[in-house]
């Protein structure tokens, strides 16, 4: 945003807005009539989502597109939200202000990284139709809504307002609207269907904003409704200071110039993350700058030296200065369960697996990769899988081929996981959709158009690892499905067909119906387990039932283990078989003896979950004889879980940040001699590994 705002600021004086628009429309998102409409919807919806998130309101957004004049491609867009509303005097600022007070010192994950926001839409409407944008907004504390037409004076390059007033805002049902904002804009644009459409943009938005209710009325009057699947708002993200590894010269120069800090010591400690007192001292030494230097005296070469020290080109004691990793609480991932719900509500399928990796850092910027895979159902089996790309919860709809996230998908040999892929490269084919979300404080795009993520080895590696993990989940699911089909057949055989054979043969021969148990044992010759995981409407709990049949001629003994979403806050209820906790999210029951022909049932319920949160329980076993329908316990699997458990425990501990120093110490040169605590190891979660992955049947 910063770059464009500045460009706009510097250009403003020389060129007319219309010229500016014409020159920059490709990265403002208005380069084609179809894309212009998507951009307009996007800016309005992003604003609505951001406002609701800020005010902690569950968003309900209604978007209506109508064709005003089909011959001239004139389209009207109305976007209404239930956000906090905008005070009357601020409406102009939000919709008509070309410059933004950019807080470039504050770094956090944010939606608005594309275009110049809603002002761009106002400009576009004015330039293409000559019409102003009508805004109506109401805040809860006022009885009436304010309305105003915001336009642009293209000669004076200034925002204009007209027809301002107040009115009572009625909802469709006649009740008064409590709070919210409505934008009505007419523009030259084209409504399209397909992969790059308003519909697709809203659908994708709804997937990554499961807390939002989105209603879309298309030009044919058809209503599309994406429901809210969770009441949980995204966590509020914290701003963090820039990390020295992610700073560029220009930025550092600006920071130095604008600094109000007393001296270099203060500057380093106050404006950067990851700089401990020790690091501060070492950086000064490496840059050959006294920590007590006043900021005003820091110029040209000093800044360059400082940057070189940041980047490890200038060293301390022959080594680059060690810095803490930046904190990762500035990221707001969507999280596994919610991605799963978002995907499930928009795509009908048989299997969904989602994964949120633990945060990682690249060039001083924290980032986090989330992926989701949805398989089966009504999706076409002979076409490339649908790729759903997101950066900070914003759908990326163009330039799929050149995007890092696509490359991460393509780098995996999907054939081993049950999808078609010519030569083991490229976008796989099959009845599936793959979602990739990058949450980051600094999303790097390939171009100003901001539709494709630029190459980055660390992000790529994280994405690839996530894909591999998900692929394994898919393979497991497919194998399990095959096994289950076989088991089902066997049950049909012994429960239906065999008794019928016995009965009919006895009838024909006029002899007594024979006993079947011997034949059944011979036919099955296995221990079989059947597991059901079902939502119980009455109790609002998820009921799990694991049934074990011993169809062998010997007594068997097992430890049966089942996965459950402990991490998501679920609790095991009505577990009459007892057992014990094996690891985070894994419960175990010991079955001392299972007699030939015997059937045992382990039943329990999971509370603290919503419907659809947990739809598939993985059952594992320890014991010598194979159990059809369960997986033999791989002890590595447990180790992995325990390792993650440890990571999560550690991430709960607050990071011992920069030690504060007394003013007096800071003033004196002796400060640098003061021994300070060495804190090399980051206290936030290390980047390796992932949270968990348990796929689920939808």
């Amino acid at each position: 945003m910063t770059g464009i705002a500045q460009k706009l600021a510097s250009n403003q004086k020389q060129v007319a807005i219309s010229e500016f628009f014409e020159k920059n429309k490709h990265f403002l998102g208005f380069d084609s009539l179809a894309r212009s409409l998507i951009t307009a919807v996007k800016e309005a919806v992003d604003n609505a989502l951001d406002a609701c998130e800020e005010a902690r309101i569950l968003p309900t957004i209604r978007i209506q597109i109508t064709k005003v004049d089909a011959n001239k491609d004139i389209i009207r867009m109305v976007v209404e939200d239930n956000g906090p509303g905008i005070p009357q005097k601020s409406i102009e600022k939000v919709f008509g202000q070309l410059l933004f007070g950019s807080r470039f010192h504050a770094i956090r994950q944010s939606r608005g990284q594309q275009g110049i926001g809603i002002t761009g839409v106002v400009m576009y409407c004015q330039l293409t139709t000559g019409r102003a944008t009508h805004v109506r907004s109401k805040i809860a504390t006022e009885p009436t809504a304010a309305f105003v037409d915001i336009g642009l004076d293209t000669r004076k390059n200034k925002a204009t307002k007209a027809n301002a007033g107040r009115e009572i805002w009625y909802n469709e049902d006649g009740s008064g609207k409590e709070h919210g904002t409505e934008v009505t804009a007419e523009m030259k644009a084209k409504y399209q269907k397909g992969r790059q459409s308003v519909w697709q943009y809203l659908r994708m938005t709804s997937i990554v904003n499961p807390h939002a209710e989105i209603i879309f009325i298309d030009p044919d009057g058809e209503k599309h409704h994406w429901t809210r699947v969770t009441e949980r708002l995204p966590t509020k993200v914290e701003s963090i200071k820039p990390h020295p590894h992610g700073i560029e010269l220009g930025q550092l120069q600006r920071m130095v110039a604008e600094s109000n800090d007393l001296n270099v010591n203060h500057f380093l400690l106050n404006n950067f993350s990851g700089v401990t007192n020790r690091a501060r001292k070492e950086l000064c030494e490496a840059a050959d700058i006294a920590g007590t230097r006043k900021m005003k005296t820091v110029k040209g070469d000093d800044i360059r030296h400082l940057l070189e020290a940041f980047q490890g080109e200038r060293v301390f004691n022959g080594m680059p200065v060690k810095l803490l990793k930046p904190p990762t609480n500035c990221l707001s991932p969507i999280e596994e369960l919610l991605i799963k719900k978002g995907l499930s509500k928009t795509i009908d399928s048989r299997f969904v697996s989602t994964l949120t990796r633990v945060p990682s850092v690249t060039q001083g910027n924290p980032f986090q990769i989330e992926v989701g895979l949805i398989f089966g159902g009504d999706m076409a089996g002979d076409k490339p899988v649908e790729i759903l790309r997101f950066a900070n919860r914003v759908p990326l709809m163009y330039q799929q081929g050149g995007c890092l996230l696509t490359k991460a998908i393509e780098s995996v040999d999907w054939r081993q996981y049950g999808l078609d892929q010519a030569g083991g490269r490229g976008v796989p084919k099959g009845p599936a959709a793959v979602l990739v979300h990058l949450a980051s404080t600094n999303v790097q795009f390939t171009s100003e158009a901001k539709e494709a993520l630029a190459d980055n080895a660390e992000v790529m590696e994280e994405g690839r690892k996530a894909m591999l993990e998900m692929g394994r989940g898919l393979r497991k699911h497919l194998e399990k499905k095959k096994k289950m089909a076989k088991t089902k057949e066997k049950f049909e055989l012994i429960n239906d067909i065999l008794p019928a054979i016995a009965k009919k043969s006895a009838e024909i021969l006029d002899r007594p119906v024979p006993e079947l148990s011997g034949s059944i044992t011979k036919i099955m010759s296995a221990v079989i387990s059947e597991t059901t995981t079902e939502w119980n409407k009455q109790t609002k709990q998820t009921d799990v039932e694991i049934i074990l049949f011993n169809y062998t001629s010997r007594v068997r003994a097992y430890t049966i283990l089942a996965t459950w979403p402990e991490k998501s806050g679920a609790k095991i209820e009505n577990n009459e078989n007892g057992g014990r906790k094996e690891a985070l999210g894994v419960w175990a029951w010991k079955l001392e003896s299972l007699q030939p022909g015997e059937k045992k049932i382990i039943a329990y319920s999971l509370s603290g979950l919503e419907r659809g949160d947990w739809t598939e329980t993985e059952v594992l076993f320890r014991g010598s004889q194979d159990v059809i329908g369960a997986t033999k316990m791989d002890e590595k699997f447990l180790q992995e879980i325990r390792r993650q458990e440890q990571i999560l425990d550690e991430s709960g501990i607050d990071s011992p940040d920069t030690e504060s120093m007394s003013e007096s110490e800071m003033e004196s040169e002796q400060v640098s001699e003061t021994p300070v605590e060495e804190t090399v190891e980051p206290a936030v979660a290390p980047p390796e590994g992932q949270r968990t992955l348990f796929g689920g049947e939808v």
Binding site: E489, K490, E492, L493, D496, I497, L498, A500, I501, A502, K504, S505, A506, E507, I508, L509, R511, P514, E515, L516, S517, G518, S519, T521, K522, I523
Partner: protein, 365 residues
Amino acid sequence: MARTHTAEETKTAMHKVVAEMYDRIIKGEPPTMTLPVRTKTNIGFDKKLGVYKYGKKQSVRDATSLGSAKQLLRTLHVVEFIEEMLDAGKSSTLREMYYISEGWGMGKFGSQNDSNNLAEDLEIVTKCLREDFKLRPEEDGARMIGNLTLRERNRRGEWMRINARDDVGDSGYGVPYNVELEKIELLEHDIDFIMAIETGGMFDRLIENGFDEQYRCGLLHLKGQPARSTRRIMKRMSEEWDLPVVVFLDGDPWSFRIFASIAYGAIKTAHISEYLATPSATYLGITADDIVAYELPSDDLSKKDVEALNAELTDPRFADSWWQEQINMMLELGKKAEQQSLAKYGLDFVTETYLPEKLAELGLA
């Protein structure tokens, strides 16, 4: 061995099959049905009978998979159904049985082919005939024209004397599905040989040209792969009247198979080859030589044709040197020809030149 059985004999034979399943359950084992392997790898020449029969390879159908178990259950339903028909003195077509199976619940047939195969399985295992089971085929019997006389018992139970030249129209005498003694008696003839013809067009051509009278023969229209009754009546005429049988077919791999089923026995019905096959039958044409010698208009062999020819090379029924030569020659030519391609030289060429020349080689003209 292949002969008709009484109702009691048939029931006893079927009960043996049922008892195999029952006894296995009593022993605590999965029920089974044992039957010969029905592929070309398990047919061998029976010197005594002069035809190809199933060998000793057995396959066991056991109830350890859902498909096989369902097949066993169907078998039981079929046995029960046949017993009911035997008791009630009724019969049904295979197609009727297929529809009746709709009421058999889990034992119903998946397709009509299923019911046909199962009836054959049961024939093979019990050594009874389809006729013993009171199951009639849907298949169309052949047409016959020529100076031969037989007696057929009509549906009122009366015997009718029919001369297949004087008492029939242009379409000839229609061979019924049952051609056993209780239905058909061969009375007398004034012909020198029987000619079996693959296509209706050629059959009609020969009749129109008066070939049957000029060359003193009986003409039989096979209608493609001949039905059991067609093969059975050929065999009876050949044996009871001591007449040579010549077979006139298209020149392609499928015609070779038709001939093999007439002369040596079909793989699917190898259990009753001695009852259906006519070992003395001779392949008249169209041969691979003919395509070259008569410069017949021909088509390229399709991929399937080539596959079929290659399969025939390893089929024991085509093991003799004449067939190996013909098959290899056709593969080399890469061509096949229809009977009616002879019309290239005019409508009378087949009756005035081709057939007389071919028959002369056999000493029949």
